[in-house]
């Protein structure tokens, strides 16, 4: 993958997803920060709201789920693009989050080239 210098966040309770996503993005980012649930991400981001370039966001997580996290981050003034990355693949769920304003919506499982494709679109 070509070199980009972006600060990326992943909010996901699955360590294997965090680890695989990191390997997909390896050598192409400035930093990769992970949070195991939405609440920890909101706590961190409220003082750093637009200090990142891209956020990967899971849907089903303990404490605070993806949609609630997204709405709270928008309330805080988030402008960073959010990519949903979730096992939920019902078209109604996709419509809900696209209409809410996420940049795009990816479904698990995923592959490295799919992640690269989205990154290339976002950072041409």
């Amino acid at each position: 993958m070509r070199k980009i210098n972006e600060k990326i966040i992943s909010i996901d309770d699955s360590k294997s997803v965090q680890s695989f996503l990191k390997s997909c993005l390896e050598n192409c980012l400035e930093s990769y920060t992970t949070f195991p649930d939405g609440q920890k991400a909101v706590d961190h981001l409220k003082d750093n709201i637009n200090n990142y370039d891209l956020i990967f966001l899971d849907w089903e997580m303990p404490i605070k789920d993806g949609p609630t996290t997204f709405y709270e981050l928008k309330e805080l003034g988030l402008k960073t693009p959010v990519l949903m990355l979730t096992s939920k693949n019902d078209p109604k769920d996709i419509v809900k989050m696209i209409e809410a304003g996420v940049f795009d919506y990816l479904m698990k499982p995923f592959t490295q080239d799919i992640i690269e494709g989205k990154i290339n679109l976002l950072f041409p």
Binding site: S14, K15, S16, V17, S19, F20, S23, N89, D90, P91, I94, V95, I98, D104, Y105, L106, M107, K108, P109, F110, T111, Q112, D113, I114, G117, L121
Partner: protein, 272 residues
């Protein structure tokens, strides 16, 4: 990595899809199996092999069969081409053919269908902004019966629809089917016709077309074949119509039938 495990997965792919994994590609297979193991929280490919022997289902099966698909085949491959299609080709056709009752497009090597469906989606989104545009018809051909049948069916795995296709387009133009398959809606499929054509043979009674997409075909042909194919394609394009080639291809030294039209970093060719 032990070869028994690689052979086991290669045999599985061959049994399910008919695609043969030769030994020379085992290195690549091994790499992809490691990625699958990581994603499924399995510690090694050996453990994946053990799990596989007990049965391959669900996400494991989806990821494994996806190994065999060609990642080069994605929706909206080379996004610049689609931008030029929207910014240059469609406005030019509208100007050259103001009374046209339909715009006709030929995808001369449509493979598994991502290209013609992407063109149809792009045109549809432009037409939503400009209702004076005529309807679109797309003729798709390929040399392989099997791949053409796939294109005509318009059913893709969940991994395939995530290659190049924004989720906005997925929910707008596809219906979800059982088994995490996604099917192109009839509103797009109705614009399509499919037929087997070998570009080295006679094309038969087709066209003429407003636009021909012939991407990443000529690159694999010797110069004499390129010239022959281009001469025949040229006869099937209307004056002021367009030929669109792959990003790494050009008409230089092959034909004088076209003028170069450059937009941003992409060149398309307009029939003189």
């Amino acid at each position: 990595m032990n070869n028994n495990a690689l052979k086991f997965f290669a045999d599985y792919i061959q049994k399910e899809l008919g695609i043969v994994y030769v030994d020379a590609n085992y290195f690549q297979l091994d790499h992809r199996l490691r990625q699958i193991a990581t994603q499924l929280e399995i510690e090694s490919v050996e453990a994946l092999y053990e799990k596989g022997q007990a049965g391959i289902t669900g996400q494991f099966r989806s990821l494994l069969l996806d190994i065999a698909t060609n990642n080069e085949t994605s929706f909206f491959r080379d996004p610049n081409i689609y931008k030029v299609f929207e910014d240059v080709v469609i406005p030019s056709l509208k100007k050259s053919f103001p009374d046209s009752r339909e715009f006709s497009i030929w995808c001369a090597a449509s493979s598994s269908g991502q290209e013609p469906y992407s063109i149809a989606m792009q045109y549809d989104s432009v037409k939503e902004q400009d209702s004076t545009l005529p309807p679109l018809s797309i003729f798709s051909s390929d040399v392989s019966d099997a791949i053409l049948a796939r294109a005509e069916k318009g059913v893709y795995s969940q991994l395939e629809v995530q290659r190049g296709l924004p989720a906005r387009n997925l929910i707008k133009y596809f219906d979800k089917r059982d088994g995490d398959q996604w099917e192109v809606k009839s509103s797009l499929r109705d614009k399509m016709k499919f037929s087997k054509i070998n570009l080295l043979h006679d094309f038969g009674m087709i066209g003429p077309f407003d636009v021909v997409f012939c991407r990443n075909v000529l690159i694999y042909q010797p110069v004499e074949n390129k010239k022959k194919i281009l001469q025949k394609i040229s006869q099937k394009i209307k004056k002021d119509g367009f030929l669109i080639l792959g990003a790494a291809e050009s008409l230089f030294g092959l034909t004088d039938d076209f003028s170069n039209v450059q937009s941003a970093s992409t060149i398309v060719y307009q029939k003189k």
